[in-house]
Symmetry: C2
Subunit: 332 residues, 2 copies
Amino acid sequence: MATIHDVASACGVSISTVSRAISRPDLVNAATRERVLAAVAELDYQPSTAARSLMSGRSMTLALLVPDITNPFFFDLVRGTQAQAAAAGYSQILIDTNESVELEHQHIATAAKGADGLVLGASRLGDDALREAARSVPLTAVNRSTPGVTSVVIDTPSGMIQAVHHLASLGHRDVAYLSGPRSSWSNGRRWRAVQLGARQAGLSVRRLGPFPPTRAAGAAAADAAVHAGVTAVMAFNDLIALGVLQRLFARGVAVPDDMSVVGCDDTFGADFCHPPLTTITASIEQVGRLATDMLLEQLRSVAPPPRVHTVPAVLTIRGSTGPVPARRRPRH
Amino acid sequence: MATIHDVASACGVSISTVSRAISRPDLVNAATRERVLAAVAELDYQPSTAARSLMSGRSMTLALLVPDITNPFFFDLVRGTQAQAAAAGYSQILIDTNESVELEHQHIATAAKGADGLVLGASRLGDDALREAARSVPLTAVNRSTPGVTSVVIDTPSGMIQAVHHLASLGHRDVAYLSGPRSSWSNGRRWRAVQLGARQAGLSVRRLGPFPPTRAAGAAAADAAVHAGVTAVMAFNDLIALGVLQRLFARGVAVPDDMSVVGCDDTFGADFCHPPLTTITASIEQVGRLATDMLLEQLRSVAPPPRVHTVPAVLTIRGSTGPVPARRRPRH
DNA sequence: ATGAAAGCGCTAACAT
DNA sequence: ATGTTAGCGCTTTCAT
């Protein structure tokens, strides 16, 4: 690998001239510049990022931490952050914290030294830990908000309230919320939204779970819902809802004829599963873009005060919700 | 941010002692070591990765390049490479080359300086360019093989041959292959496999396309297939197949009653779309793990000669394939 | 316009 | 067992 010295000696100038010819071309004589640039091309010289980082203190790298790359929600997020990072000349490193608070903690510490800033997807950290982290490194949190921390949150709750009303208007009186992970901030918000909507619409909700936010867990969730005797379920996310659909089908419970199912996030698959999922839609990729933008902003010399940006979410009605069954089916 | 000097002066030793206390504890007096480690904890000292990289010449970072992060095939790959990289203490940076040969070229060059090695997912590079790249930086290619380049390839072709026989056994005589991108090496292999299978099974295949490997393109592909009057299609990948399913449904063509559909890769969604997709299954995550392993191996002092590892793939029959229609439906 | 030299934070000889 | 020193490759004063 060619170094700046190779280039310098190749065209008989000093290393500072080479450096300047590259980073501030206007400061060097046109003729010399040509010569240097030619040598650079000739030797295929690439300035060492390590050396640059050492000098500048910046790595031109951003890190994205997610609890589980397996979850399509995060695919969409990755897409958005990656695109925006790339556009700004940053690389993005991807870290899976495996739904673990400790791992997240640890990775924040280590990632912080490798990256110039972090995007925390659905952080499982507590308020104090999150604020603390935000103090030690530029970061923006996605779907995890607390005062003093820059974040972008999706207004899923208002979508869920709409969903409850939708269910009510179909005649449902008994619905279950299939809870996500306890450590998920979104889960708390969503459950509160469901409760609020239920109060407004005058129907009864109960919370089942918590369940891991996976398709596999949807089977258990479906069984719990059938056992509870509700006519509709609202799942913490689409993954659980997908699992529910599958399990209900296996048990011979028809959707939406015997049971209505509402997902959340409208991630990949929600529109082509069977039946297609009524769910809460937001542009997650857009959220990723925004989060990266807000992070990049903090990296500029004058960092803005922490802000929280809210992205709208709406109810998308598809085939998995329908009128309440005329007569309740036997509970298997 | 604390430096090694801060730690050193904090406990009245030289920086080398600090360095040693951290990287080779056995070389320093137990008592001093304690003191140093205490100071490290106290000051929350984190050795600078940039400085370390500069010294060692290694960044402890791997890069994964994919043509399109949007594609679920690559989600699975990301999972695998990420897991294995993390296990080996490496970070992984993710790069989207956007289906562009030029972008891939360029990113290989730039990524090469930031990362210690690359995993190229479904590289769109030509043979020469790929070999050239492999000469300049440690890399392993996934589903893109050429002599002299370490790679892991999925034995999708044998799965596709099985699929053709499956179709033949259902009575199909006319099938179409819905071609993927021209620059995709896999596409060529898959098409050849389909032709071979067709010859063996004595049925006729034609190639339609090429189509971009996206759900959206599946609509065009479906129309082309209907127009061609075939009774079964085999798509380059599940994404196209999913799009076909959707379009066929919209046009009132029943699957599998009027048309059988075979996908490829068994990516997220293939098992819960409607009807579930008959497809070619391989553990893509496993492929990612393997690719990273093989890359890591090249990074060790004595790099092994280029090898190509083949991962098996099998036909998974689901609901999207069935007997050939008794009488052909009118072609819309 | 160009060169010399200092130094970013660290590790690895080489002294002591 | 510990300290001193010389770089790793680069940018950036400061001279010239």
